[in-house]
């Protein structure tokens, strides 16, 4: 004979479950408010950075057209994007491309799926700590190798491998990299950065330095100011 759990146990369980559910559904604004990225002006949980190929550019058409990436040879890569909210594609230097409809910006697996469909011509890194940390890792190069090694090991344990493969492939083959970032995981990012011996602000700064173009949701124009990249006055030249 075993006594049942006490009624208090069930009540505590119900309360805890409800609290977690509320955080899941409504916690993103709270997390963003505490988010170091918000200080930098990019608090959107649906933020995509696009690094154009060297000598190439990123363009996008309106409506349901996918994102097109053009390399230095003029070869066009079409990303089979399936995003469901209007966003803008910007390039460093001030040219605006878009608006366009993309789908599933904050759905990491869809992004990965698009990468798979694009084969080796384009990469979309996973949209969370993995991608942020990998850019950070790629930029630091020889600096703080010991810290990075420790961070990489910890990161691998957290499942960074898909993002690692995407970034490696993009670097080796000089192909575009679309980096999706979810601000909801920034607290994790901060922890990972601490493992590598750097702060989140430094990681974000290095991402910004390396990014030639990026995609950002239209309500997040503050980031434009950070980049000092005003859009061109004539949007018609968006697909140069």
């Amino acid at each position: 004979m075993t006594r049942d759990w006490s009624p208090r146990t069930f009540r505590i369980g119900i309360a805890a479950s409800l609290a977690v559910l509320l955080l899941q559904w409504g916690g993103v604004p709270v997390i963003e408010a505490l988010n170091p990225l918000s200080v930098a002006g990019c608090s959107s949980p649906r933020l995509i950075y696009v690094r154009a190929p060297e000598g190439g550019h990123v363009s996008a058409d309106v409506d349901e057209s996918p994102v097109k990436l053009v390399n230095r040879k003029g070869e066009v890569t079409t990303i089979p994007a399936r995003f469901d909210q209007p966003i803008m594609v910007l390039e460093k230097g001030g040219e605006r491309h878009g608006p366009l409809l993309l789908q599933g910006i904050d759905r990491h697996h869809e992004a990965l799926c698009a990468w798979t469909e694009a084969g080796t011509t384009a990469c979309i890194a996973l949209a969370d700590i993995r991608a942020i940390y990998l850019i950070h890792q790629g930029n630091l190069q020889k600096q703080r190798r010991r810290g990075l090694a420790g961070g990489a090991i910890a990161g691998a344990a957290l499942g960074m491998l898909p993002g690692t493969l995407a970034l490696t492939q993009a670097n080796e083959q000089d192909i575009p990299l679309i980096l999706c970032i979810s601000a909801a995981v920034v607290p994790v990012t901060t922890g990972m950065g601490a493992l590598a011996g750097v702060g989140t602000g430094e990681i974000v700064g290095r991402i910004r330095d390396q990014t030639d173009a990026y995609v950002i949701s239209p309500e997040q124009w503050r980031f434009q100011e950070v980049l000092r990249a005003p859009p061109s006055e004539d949007p018609s030249d968006g697909n140069r």
């Binding site: 075993t2 006594r3 049942d4 759990w5 009624p7 069930f10 369980g13 805890a16 977690v20 559910l21």
Partner: protein, 64 residues
């Protein structure tokens, strides 16, 4: 949504089923497990089932 996103929901249903079961004179822990497995169906079964008889399960014992 990922599977992990549903865990709090499963727990909520499980704890609710257990709590309701205790209030209805049944074994809360057993119905917590049923709630995890069956979700809202377990709560429906609990609410639709007749009260336990004196020889049936009670919240003081656990046949498992």
């Amino acid at each position: 949504m990922e599977i992990a996103d549903f865990i709090p929901w499963w727990c909520l249903v499980g704890f609710t089923a257990g709590w309701l079961a205790q209030r209805r004179g049944r074994i809360g822990r057993t119905w917590f497990a049923l709630g995890l497995l069956l979700g809202p169906i377990a709560i429906a079964i609990l609410l639709l089932s007749p009260p336990p008889s004196s020889t049936g399960e009670s919240h003081e014992t656990d046949p498992v």
